[in-house]
């Protein structure tokens, strides 16, 4: 592997964040802070109480979309879209979440492929062919959910509240993957976070789809779940192998 990404040497470095790098000023600072008196009584619960005021207001992130309306203003396929866009929207919400997650997942793997292509493959660790295979599976899963949403009369371009939450949750993973300074192992750790979440998401989606009576769709999702379970184990394996080699 090229030295690229300036992977930190295993030995001593220049990290200044800890107290031990400031043997004189560190104790002075600690002493000063301990001697100071807080300006208000109470503890961390005060912050929580204030946050609770806002929670109590009950403003949600957002809601499901209204039923689709044609140009003439007539609700289209009203019977079919019940549960997708109105009423109990849990399945629709979670489908939208998976759709967005798989789409972002595709981009995450593209970023990882980009890194491995640049630095070169290493053993132990993922090969480009293996990463491309997972990337293609993420894209297939995205299309699978997209078709499912469409078949239920939903709008696959909607960002549902759960999809929005998933995007916020994924922001950190995305930052790690697109940062040119992160190592392949650091990226794999972030991808593992995404894959574990994704795996649990597919499990839930299979359950919800079955509960809603869409057995055929659930079978397709079950196959995706099996793929995703393999992704988790594969990523976990790469990471463990790369790190244990260094210990």
């Amino acid at each position: 592997m090229k030295s690229g990404t300036q992977a930190a040497p295993d030995g001593a470095g220049m990290n200044r964040t800890g107290m031990i790098t400031s043997p004189l000023m560190g104790p002075e600072m600690t002493e000063g802070a301990a001697a100071a008196t807080p300006s208000s009584p109470g503890g961390p619960e005060q912050l929580l109480l204030r946050r609770a005021e806002y929670i109590s207001e009950g403003f949600p992130l957002g809601s499901p979309p209204p039923p689709p309306v044609s140009l003439e203003g007539v609700v289209e396929g009203a019977a079919q879209v019940v549960g997708m866009t109105t009423g109990v929207g849990t399945l629709a919400d979670k489908l939208s979440e998976r759709l967005a997650f798989e789409r972002t997942g595709t981009r995450l793997y593209e970023a990882l492929i980009n890194k491995v292509e640049t630095l070169g493959e290493s053993r132990p660790g993922p090969t480009l062919a293996e990463l491309r295979e997972i990337r293609d599976e993420e894209l297939r899963h995205f299309h699978l959910v997209r078709e499912a949403v469409t078949s239920l009369g939903g709008d696959p371009t909607v960002q549902s509240p759960c999809a929005d939450v998933a995007a916020v949750t994924s922001l950190g993973v995305l930052q790690v993957l697109t940062d040119p300074r992160t190592s392949v192992a650091q990226c794999l750790q972030a991808v593992l976070t995404a894959e574990l979440t994704d795996n649990a998401g597919w499990e839930l989606l299979v359950q919800l789809t079955r509960a809603a009576g869409h057995e055929e769709m659930a079978k397709g999702f079950q196959a995706a779940l099996e793929n995703e379970a393999r992704h988790v184990e594969t990523v976990r394996g790469w990471l463990a192998a790369m790190l244990t080699e260094k210990v």
């Binding site: 403003f59 949600p60 967005a100 297939r140 995205f142 299309h143 371009t157 916020v168 790690v176 999702f221």
Partner: protein, 393 residues
């Protein structure tokens, strides 16, 4: 309708008060609120930001005005806080960026359509086609890096396609300055427009300069660096169209009128009742501030504010899609370039701008890189990708 700004006194300054709880209200919904609610929030944040910026500059040059400026500025600052904090935390920096560009497109288009001075209207159309291109570049970034669909933010009101390519927007400073309106002859609307768009562009520059380094992706960092540079050019362009011989007090008076004018427009178009109440409250605050400055103007300049201000506020910015206007402008004027203060065809661009651009782009163009071969399509370009990949699990 017209608002008689001499008759309407608004809320007196000493009654313009806040608590922290009021300043930090529940934000709007990224998913459920209309895109134009977000557009208005971003625009008004920009206007309040400009009010504070102007006030500080004025204070540094006018010792005797420092206290009255500080009084009004403190309220402006808190107004800006309340308005800006209406943006929700799930609106990520890149998503907020998309909304900023939508402001630049739709508000500038409305201004360009309404502007009575033909040269000024041309200036706005020139800038509009550049911001239009930025939306396309940032949409490509959002799609290709985060797997996001820009239209979740844009809500189909604005087109996402190339405008005047960002890579050719880089110009020598001598080609960014424009002719300016004559303070004695210009229509009030011309002055209101100039102050509004200058504020909007300046806050865009400031926002990109703040969030650019928060991106991990080096191409994103490059793109923000590149487009922030254009926003700096746009601020240079738009501030140059105001008459620099206006006195500090004349400018202050017109800025207060401009804020009232824009809060009035926000209120007229607002669809979220909770946010409309904010616009109404702040329209009354601005009228109060305007009257405070009118009195000051009489004392400092010994003149009647009516010499500077219009009797009534004109029709406001239209918060609607300007798709047809933008497309027509694009078809006619995408190849315009600047030669000094004049607009010329592509082949007539001065060597100084060509050389400046060639040097800046000599190690690659971020805006071209990020959008190489990019076409926005519903649900991202992955939705339009090889359908064969979508089959089976």
């Amino acid at each position: 309708m017209g608002l008689d700004i001499f008759k309407e006194k608004g809320v007196p300054l000493d009654k313009q008060q806040f608590t922290w709880r009021e300043l930090v209200q529940a934000p709007t919904s990224k998913l459920d609120d209309d895109a134009f609610t977000r557009v208005r929030i971003i625009l008004m944040n920009g206007l309040e930001s400009e009010a504070v910026r102007f006030s500080h500059a004025c204070a540094r040059m006018n010792r005797e005005l420092q206290l009255p400026l500080a009084r009004v500025r403190r309220i402006d600052h808190h107004q800006q806080t309340l308005v800006n904090w209406l943006l929700p935390a799930d609106l990520s920096p890149i998503e907020t960026t998309l909304a900023f560009e939508q402001v630049a497109i739709e508000v500038t288009a409305s201004v360009a359509e309404r502007e009575p001075d033909p040269y000024m209207a041309q200036v706005y159309r020139f800038g509009l086609l550049e911001d239009f291109d930025h939306l396309y570049r940032f949409s490509a970034l959002y799609d290709r890096v985060a797997g996001g669909d820009a239209n979740n933010i844009i809500q189909s009101y604005s087109d996402i396609m190339p405008g005047r390519p960002t890579s050719v927007e880089h110009r020598d400073p001598a080609d960014d300055l424009r002719e300016y309106y004559d303070k004695r002859k210009a229509a009030p609307l011309t002055k209101l427009h100039a102050a509004t768009i200058t504020a909007a562009e300046n806050q865009t520059r400031d926002y990109y300069m703040t969030i650019g380094p928060q991106f991990a992706d080096p191409v994103a960092r490059q793109l923000y660096a590149e487009i922030a540079s254009i926003e700096e050019q746009h601020t240079t362009q738009y501030e140059s169209i105001s008459d620099a011989t206006e006195t500090w007090m004349e400018k202050w008076l017109m800025r207060e009128a401009m804020e009232a004018y824009n809060y009035m427009g926000c209120s007229q178009y607002e669809t979220n009742p909770r946010i409309k109440a904010v616009w109404d409250r702040f329209l009354d605050y601005e009228l109060g501030q305007l009257h405070f400055v009118m009195e000051l103007f009489k004392k400092v300049e010994n003149r009647d504010p009516a010499e500077v201000l219009p009797a009534e506020l004109p029709e406001p910015v239209e918060y609607k899609s300007h798709r047809e206007f933008v497309r027509e402008t694009l078809a006619r004027e995408v190849d315009l370039r600047a030669d000094g203060t004049q607009f010329v065809t592509k082949g007539q661009e001065p060597e100084r701008s060509l050389a400046y651009r060639e040097q800046l782009n000599s190690e690659g163009s971020p805006s071209e890189t990020v959008a190489a071969g990019y076409r926005w399509s519903p649900g991202t370009e992955l939705a339009a990708a090889d359908a064969a990949l979508g089959k089976g699990a």
